[in-house]
Structures are given as C-alpha cells and as structure tokens.
C-alpha cells in the first residue's frame, strides 16, 4: 500500500519537475513546481515526518512560490522574449539529460547504495518536540548561523534595492 503511494507521488514529482523545465510559460512552470513540491511533501509524510511535510508546504508552496509568481507576473515575459531565453545549445542539454539519468540509475541499482551507512533512522514518526530539542541542542550552531545568513540576505537585498543618488 505504502509502496503504491510512494510510486505515485514519486512519478508525479518527477513528471512535474520535468514539466517545470520544459514548459515555455513561466506561470505554467511555477504551477508545476508547486505540484512537484507538494509531492515531495507527500513523500515526507510517507517517511513519517509530518512536521517536515507541513513545513515544506507552508514555506515552499505557500510562501516562496507566491513570491516567484509575484515576480513572474510583474516581469510579464512575452512569447517573443521566451524564445531568447531558451539557449541555442539546448540539443546538447537534451542529449546529456538521458545520459545523466542513466548514470544515476546505474549507480543506484548497481552501486550498492547505503553500504556504508550505519545509522538508518527508524520508522517511528518524528515528534515536533524532538525536532525542536535537536534543533536547539545538537544543531544550535547551524541554526544560529542560518539566522545570520537570513539577516545578510536581507541587508544585501535592501542595499541593492535601496534608492540612492549615485553617479553612473
């Protein structure tokens, strides 16, 4: 049962991810990206971490994509311009894509993935309290660095967008 659901979500995620890069219209791409992120959230549920799934929807599907759409709608990319966005060497890209896929598949099925791993997480559902505790003890340092990172992003964005009287 779970396997069936996983395959469903995974296939849909991959198909929508392919659609994101192959569709010409940026809004359609954004829609597909939403679908893709949503499927990933569903896979998180299957992996017994509903918190991560919900946060994925909350932040990526709920907030980040809204900003993407906001920008896309303001940019108003017309069909003429879309042609120029797709590079001339796309044939090369299309040739490489199946190769990379093949390589990955080979590695995954022939390469003995996970032979080194020693501590595979158990199938228990992860409680929010546990995540919180880990975040503020074991992962406190990365957590704080991330907060500085966000501050930097904010400062940088404001500096670049700020109105200033600068001679050329």
């Amino acid at each position: 049962m779970e396997q069936i659901f996983f395959i469903g979500f995974a296939v849909l995620a991959i198909v929508s991810a392919l659609a994101v890069v192959s569709l010409r219209n940026p809004v359609h791409s954004a829609l597909c990206l939403m679908v893709c992120l949503f499927q990933v959230a569903c896979i998180f549920v299957l992996l017994r971490s509903p918190f991560l799934a919900v946060v994925q929807i909350f932040i990526y599907v709920g907030a980040v994509m809204v900003l993407f759409l906001f920008v896309v709608m303001i940019l108003d990319i017309r069909k003429v311009m879309l042609g120029s966005l797709v590079g001339k060497r796309s044939g090369f890209v299309y040739a490489i894509m199946p190769l990379v896929t093949l390589e990955f598949l080979l590695v995954i099925f022939k390469g003995g993935l996970g032979k080194v791993a020693s501590n595979i997480p158990s199938g228990e559902e992860v409680k929010v309290a546990v995540i919180g505790k880990e975040l503020f003890t074991k992962y406190l340092f990365p957590f704080e660095v991330v907060s500085i990172l966000l501050l930097v992003a904010m400062v940088g964005a404001i500096v670049l967008a700020k109105d200033r009287d600068e001679g050329a």
Binding site: I108, G114, K115, V116, S118, P142, G156, V159, L160
Partner: protein, 482 residues
C-alpha cells in the same frame, strides 16, 4: 548536550565579528553620508578585536577545541587560515576607504557586508561538520553577491552580479546534493565521522563517486576552478576593485579550507578516488587560466584568469594529500593574499579617472612618469609570475616540493611549464610600463590607506620571499609535522 561557556569561547572571534556588525548596522544610521569612512575604521577595529581573540586562543594552549557537539573544531589550521582572512579583509577595507567615496557608492552597509563575509569564512575555517561548512560558505558568498552588484546603476555590474548569483546558487545546490549523498552513504555529516565510516566500510559504493564529483563541482565553483570558472572574469570585472581583490583572495582561501577539511581530512581513506578528479581540475585550471589570460585587454579580467591559474597551483598541494601538502597550500595562500592585494592596491590607485586603470594599455609608459609605482607593480607581477627573490616563487616552490615528495613528479613538471606560460602575460605588462613612451598624463588616487596597503604587501612579499622559514614553520606546526 547543553551549550556551555566553552562552546561560546570557541567561537568568540566569530561572535565578536557577527555581533559588532549588527551594532555597526545601527551605528550606520547615525553617521552622515560624508563620514562613512568612520564605518571602515570601526570595522578595522572589529577585525583587530577578533584577531586578538584568536591570538589569545592560541596563547591559552588549549587548541584544538571542539564545540557545539562536533560542529566546530578550532585547531591551528583554522587559526592560520583565520589570520589570512583577517589580513585580507583588513587590507580590503583599507583599499575601499577612498575608492567607494570616489565611485560614489559610499554606503555603510559595504563594510557590514564585508564583515559578514568574514564571519562566514571564519566559520568555514573552524567547522568540522559538513552542515556548518556549507552554512559558512553560504554566509561568505551571500554578501559577496551583493557587493559584486554594488554599483547598481552600472549595467556591467548588474550583469556580472546576476551571473555570479545564479551560477552560485546552482553550485550551492549541487554542493548540497553532494552533501546529502555523503550523509546518506555514511549516516553522518561530521567530518571525522565520515572518515571513520569510510575507513570501516568494506567496499566503496559507486554512489560515493557521484557525491565526490558533486562536491568538487560545488567547491570548485568557489575557487573558480576550470570548468566551473565561467563566472569569474565577469564577476571580477563587474565588482568594485577592492571587492575583486577580496573575492580573489579571501573567498578563494575559504574554499581551500573546505578542500583541506573535506578532502584531505574527511575523504582521506578514499584518496585515490578524488585525487584524479582534482588533478584534472588543477591541470585544466592552470591551462585555461594561464593561456586565456594572454588574450585579455582588461587588467581585472587578466587577473581573474591569473587567479584561476593560481587556484590550479594551490590545488596541487591538496592533491598531494599529505600534511606537507596542506602546509604548502597554507603558505601559498598567504603569499597569494599579499601579492594579489598589493597589485589590486596599485589598480585602485590607477582607478582615479573614469576609464583609467582598467585597461592594460593604461599602464603604458608608467615607469617614465612614476618610477616608484612602476617598480612596485613590477615586484608584484614578478611575484605572481613566480620569479625567484619574491614570495610567489617560494609559494610555488613548496607546493611543488610537496608534490615531488609524494612522487607526482610529472604533475610538478606540468605545473612548472604552465608557470613559464604564465610569466608571458605578466611580463607583457612590465614591458608596457618600462619599454614604451607614456601616451597620456596619469592621475593617481593616493590616499594614505592605499599606500599603507601597498607598503605592507610589498614588505610581506619581499620578506616571505627572502625569509619564509618562520611562516613555513608555523604552517607546518599547524598541520602537525613539527
């Protein structure tokens, strides 16, 4: 699992820098538009304080210190690299003091972003976990993205910054993917844990190869190694000149810390797997960097390619995968910091008028007009080319020695050949300066701060070239040879 005072003390220098930037951002509001240089002086004070904190850590003799449940490990290598970061950032700030006023981009956030970037580098240097390494690298890169595009009214700056941001984000994604592979394969992100897991594994899964390729791609982007170098010339040209210097010195050094940590330490058990990939990367970098530089007309682009080439040389020390190799990389990067900052100092001086100092032909006949400046430039160029009495030669010498001691003589020979090629375009500039008649009047910016930077760099380049023993000794102590 609780966080104690020892953890805080271990990251005291980082805390000093990060905390004071937040204060500086507020102080910036109180400072008038004309006095933004004050922000620069305050930033220098912050760096000085952080340097003292770092120094006192080495004095206390408690190194290496592990903190934050294995996220942070401050050892002597970290301290050595941090010193390079302090020097690079401080000199960059001194170069910027007059430059950003001249170019009318006189904003207090400029210094704040530089200090944020410094924080990221320091975190990278003292990290012992892939997670904090990644975050450190991002924290280093984000402010640089903003600084590259700092001249927002300049179309060229926008283009360069845009390329840098998009490719940078892409490389970060690849890097993260690689990290997740490593986590999946070994079950840990801690570098010692990774080494442990790899050592105890009976067979190496092929997926590890993919992970290594991805990590090389991600980190290779940060050192602008070929074929991940496409952004470098555009971004170097786009950025304000002091930032170009900062990128080519500090950001690159930080990426090399990662190579030392992840590859030399973490992937030590599988050295054969990554040595080949890095060798290809190094040879390509030296090839492309040194040959394409010949065709450049803009001196910043030329230095960008030269920087790519130097990245290749420094990688050789990593490829040696021995403590000796590591120490040679550390020394090389220190030398590179001084000579590159010095030459950018000269360019900043020449940047006085609008187009001046950007094109190589702008230096035509400089020797006739200003002999001292031309001589300084000559010394830095000799150093970059690796000509004996200068530090550049010593840097290369130690890297090659490390290679030869490991038995990779052919690689050392290849590198020497590329050095010879590189000498061509450095000496071309010297030819223009000394052999041609001046075509125009020069006007220089000669604020005291830039002169100080050039003087410091000059002294360092000559001293390290003539008497490198003490610093080499420090580096070797750091990696534990002595």
């Amino acid at each position: 699992m609780m966080i104690g005072i020892n953890d805080i003390l271990a990251i005291l220098p980082e805390l000093i820098v990060a905390g004071s930037v937040c204060v500086l951002l507020l102080v910036d509001f109180l400072i008038g538009k004309e006095n933004k240089a004050l922000m620069g002086y305050l930033s220098l004070a912050v760096i000085f304080a952080a340097a003292i904190a770092t120094w006192s850590m080495t004095r206390s003799g408690s190194l290496p210190v592990d903190a934050f449940n294995g996220m942070i490990s401050v050892d002597k290598i970290a301290v050595f690299f941090k010193v390079i970061f302090f020097i690079a950032t401080a000199l960059t700030i001194m170069l910027s003091l007059s430059y950003i006023k001249d170019k009318n981009i006189n904003l207090g956030e400029y210094y704040a972003l530089l200090l944020f970037s410094l924080t990221g580098m320091m975190i990278t240097a003292s990290s012992s976990d892939l997670l904090s390494i990644y975050l450190g690298i991002e924290l280093m890169s984000l402010p640089i993205y903003a600084l590259v595009g700092f001249r927002v009214r300049d179309g060229r700056a926008n283009e360069g910054a845009m390329k840098y941001v998009i490719l940078g984000a892409f490389s970060s994604a690849v890097m993260l993917f690689g990290i997740s592979f490593i986590y999946g394969l070994t079950g840990t992100t801690e570098i010692s844990g990774i080494a442990e897991a790899l050592r105890s594994a009976d067979a190496q899964p092929a997926a590890l190869g993919i992970a290594i390729v991805m990590l090389v791609a991600g980190f290779g982007f940060k050192i602008a190694g070929v074929p991940f170098h496409m952004w470098a010339p555009d971004a170097y040209e786009a950025a304000p000149t002091p930032i170009t210097a900062f990128m080519s010195v500090a950001a690159k050094t930080a990426a090399f810390v990662v190579f030392v940590r992840v590859f030399v330490d973490g992937f030590a058990p599988i050295v054969e797997q990554w040595q080949l990939i890095l060798t290809v990367l190094a040879i390509l970098s030296m090839l492309v960097g040194n040959t394409v530089a010949i065709a450049q007309t803009n001196i910043k682009r030329m230095l960008a390619y030269s920087s790519i080439g130097h990245g290749g040389y420094a990688l050789l020390g990593i490829i040696a995968a021995t403590p000796e190799g590591t120490s040679s990389v550390m020394f090389y990067l220190l030398v590179y910091a001084f000579m590159n900052l010095g030459i950018f100092g000269v360019i900043v001086m020449m940047n006085r008028d609008k187009s001046g100092g950007e094109l190589i032909t702008d230096y035509t006949g400089l020797a006739k007009k200003n002999g001292a400046l031309a001589l300084v430039m000559l010394i830095f160029l000799f150093s970059l080319a690796g000509i004996p009495p200068t530090a550049g030669f010593m840097g290369k010498f130690y890297v090659f020695m490390a290679l030869i001691n490991e038995g990779m003589v052919w690689l050392a020979v290849v590198a020497v050949i590329f050095s010879a090629v590189a000498a061509y375009f450095y000496i071309r500039v010297i030819m223009l300066m000394y052999m041609k008649e001046p075509e125009r009047e020069f006007s220089y910016a000669r604020p005291l701060s830039v002169l100080i930077v050039i003087t410091i760099s000059l002294i360092a380049v000559i001293l390290l070239g003539v008497l490198p023993d003490r610093i080499i000794e420090l580096a070797e102590k750091a990696v534990g040879i002595l």
